[in-house]
Symmetry: C3
Subunit: 355 residues, 3 copies
């Protein structure tokens, strides 16, 4: 019940990057406190099963593939991609009715494998549209993954309050102090919180300036960011030297998404698609490696220090002093809390009704 | 009370291999949650004391031997092998009445030091007879020890369900799939559970085939296994090419015994005596090293993964799907649970009666 | 409330050696369970602040100095040495009323920075006089620090019962068995416990013998030791060959002081001033290094083993067998317990009165 209380269950989480799960191997990841095994069938479709044999609880991901099936590493019960036991080498080979493994709906989109951890029917309409990641050459998009020993909401806070970038990060994405004074326009729906900042700076962020007509001169920029429940943030950042509008801007379209391993460990993924230098594989590799390093070296130590300082206390119970830059992340925390409470309440209702 | 609730107390546990406790040193081991010091008196007799000075709780095993006595490393109170304080260097040298250390009955047999952790009188009749380990040359018997971060019952499960060997272990002891289809004959007494499998395979297990008359041809084999409370399993495995019976078989007589350090840490010992190549010291060393490596490399990682997956949940509470190969280990778990419950209940009764 | 229950709060603890806090850096230490940042203002005065930004709880000690102020590493709120927020780079720069960081009174004396962790007014009269540490050349005094994963009272026990030195330490400070038989004179006040031992030994302790008129011959010696609440022990040890009195003795004046990081981690500091070889910097460095090594190599492993054996049990609840050498440390434990209980009780009363 503890996990249910703290995480939204009826939702899509990134279980893995598509590239993390190859054709041959059994992939393991802990998600919302549960061991999950993911592997690809012969036709390339990825499936997700509870990574626990129902016999003596060995992780199936330590087992062997037998075609599209997986044999438990301990006593060789075999299961198919639907979690059904198909072979029992013991005694007369009778397959017990209970010899089933839970499966989880899995959808492969935008370079990610998305998982639905709830027992209810998966609702594909709840997966946001990140199709811009798919549009363009392979060398114009990068993906990365890291694991952090922190609660996932601290990472969402980090991304939703972009005012930190002038203070935490280096020259390459500095706004030269222009971002912090701005109060973003914030917009909320029943499953999203968006914010947008616009400003001018001279020169533009170093990631964009070289690609603008006059690299040394002033440019107009924006950040546009949308959190969607439970833990995905789409972020676009752009620069232009046109007098108005952003039609021919230099930009990148990023997705940051967090998946709780448990309450104090998070799988953090991000992806970035840009509209410039799209065909340079080496530039592409450096780009995503640089973003990975920036988080790991700069945000990461801070977020971990905050986690250590907070312990297992709830954020609001510590009476944070909130400011204009907190509007978006606080709206996210409050909306997510309401959604979790609603889900728990209606599940409770359902449970009563069906008992 | 927690330890009492989960372990059988009125029972013999292997505290150490005889070879682990030499003539000079103070040996420490945690057993059933308690620190125990073991050392040998001048006449070779081993004694076991609570490894905690009653003064300021320093481990006596960090102290110094003074003949048959041990001086505490901190303030030099000295204790004899019966736990009696014999020397106090402080003040006028008065020895406080309470200056005593608990001792534990210890019996040296079959190459092991067996300990009785309960306060009741030790009952030697409860130590099973493993005298075959003593019979034969030194070069025909091997002993080993390893420490595992798992509950001891998971190791008992592993040994009691030998059907795992075709799936977990390599060519050297494969039954070529013959073992799993068999349902063993199981026999239960008030402190033991036995199982026996018989089959034919071609060739015999690699550990035996070279010593049979016709190494490449079919052989008849058996496993005979007896668990005795609390945590010892005697296992004989044999092969023969005679038409019937096992009188002139090639075999080995093994003892596996587990001693809980605590609920999630186990001392695992095993011994093996064989009736072939008995005089080859090098073969003997390789034999026991190979068995040690097989458990450490093959069973060990699985048992640890199962422990991680089970956390501190009770085995039956997780609703395992049980099969024909589980008959023996499940009978052990149930009998052991009943014995622990009976012990706790009668101890409770006794406590009430004497209060 | 847990910390309050186990530590004396209205008291001075050593937060750091003066030499640990330089002119430029932000210094972090956990004290009584709280993160504390210490740094020096431009005029050299050291200040202590809660090491937690009130915005999103990042440690300020990971931030940057801006003159006498510190900017938070995360979103750059800036605080002065009184904990007042002086700069907010966000939005219109409004400084929220609640944007304050708790500060702790800090006094620099005797080579230490002393901190008062309670919210009540700091009472300088409660800091004992250790001015002898200040008197004499720099090369006649040494300071050291170590961190130990034990409860601080176990270290106080260690120092208050000096009878351990013949059993734990080597030749250099042996009393040749003379100390243990002595029962010290013990004197108690409302915040102190003192003990004094006097004896003769031949030769004197090796740390003193070379500086006496007749190094090989008998000398009179004393230990004089005073614990002052909460956790400071002043210890003087001396040797003389005069027929009576200690007017021209060879001695050293030591201070041992413990600061709980939390219940199971202690900052242990000590200082030593001697009245001989006062002008030899190399001797001085070896002297304090030797004392550090003696504790780290000899007392430290014992105290840690005792902690492991005691777990989180209270000392008296384990029914220690107490002897003549325990008079002083037991008086300290009992007086400290009474002081903590009194403090909690009167705080409770105060809280009620002001609510």
């Amino acid at each position: 019940m503890k996990v249910r209380d703290r995480f939204l269950k009826k939702a899509w989480y990134a279980a893995a990057l598509s590239s993390e799960v190859n054709a041959a191997d059994l992939f393991h990841r802990k998600i919302l406190g549960k061991s999950v095994m993911i592997y690809r069938l012969g036709d390339g479709t990825a499936v997700a099963l509870h990574d626990r044999c129902p016999h003596r609880f060995a992780p199936l991901s330590m087992g062997k593939r037998v075609g599209d099936e997986v044999a438990c590493p301990y006593h060789a019960l075999r299961f198919d991609g639907q979690g059904q036991c198909t072979h029992n080498p013991h005694g007369q080979g009778h397959i017990p009715k209970a010899a089933k493994v839970d499966t989880f709906p899995l959808v492969e989109k935008y370079g990610f494998l998305w998982i639905w951890m709830d027992e209810s029917e998966a609702d594909l309409s709840l997966l946001p549209d990140y199709s811009p990641l798919d549009e363009g050459p392979e060398t114009g998009v990068g993906f990365t993954y890291m694991n952090l020993p922190v609660n996932y909401e601290l990472i969402i806070d980090n991304v939703m309050d972009l005012s930190h970038i002038d203070h935490v990060h280096g020259e390459i994405i500095t706004t030269r102090g222009k971002l912090s004074p701005l109060v973003p326009r914030v917009h909320e729906t029943d499953r999203t919180v968006s914010a947008r900042w616009e400003w001018s700076q001279q020169p533009a962020m170093m990631i964009f300036a070289p690609f603008l007509p006059k690299p040394e001169e002033e440019a107009r920029q924006y950040f546009d960011i949308t959190w969607s429940a439970p833990a995905s943030i789409q972020l676009t950042v752009a620069a232009t030297q046109e007098p108005e509008g952003f039609e021919n801007d230099i930009n990148q379209y990023d997705l940051h998404t967090c998946t709780p391993a448990d309450e104090l460990e998070t799988h953090y993924f991000f992806a970035t698609r840009r509209n410039h230098v799209e065909d340079d594989a080496e530039y592409n590799a450096q780009k995503i490696a640089g973003m990975h390093a920036a988080f790991e070296d700069e945000d990461g130590p801070l977020v971990m220090a905050v986690q250590a300082e907070m312990g297992d206390e709830d954020f609001f119970s510590l009476n944070p002093v909130l400011m204009s830059n907190d509007v978006a992340p606080v709206k996210v925390r409050k909306l997510l809390t309401r959604m979790i409470e609603t889900e728990n309440h209606s599940s409770g209702g359902l449970a009563e009704a069906t008992e």
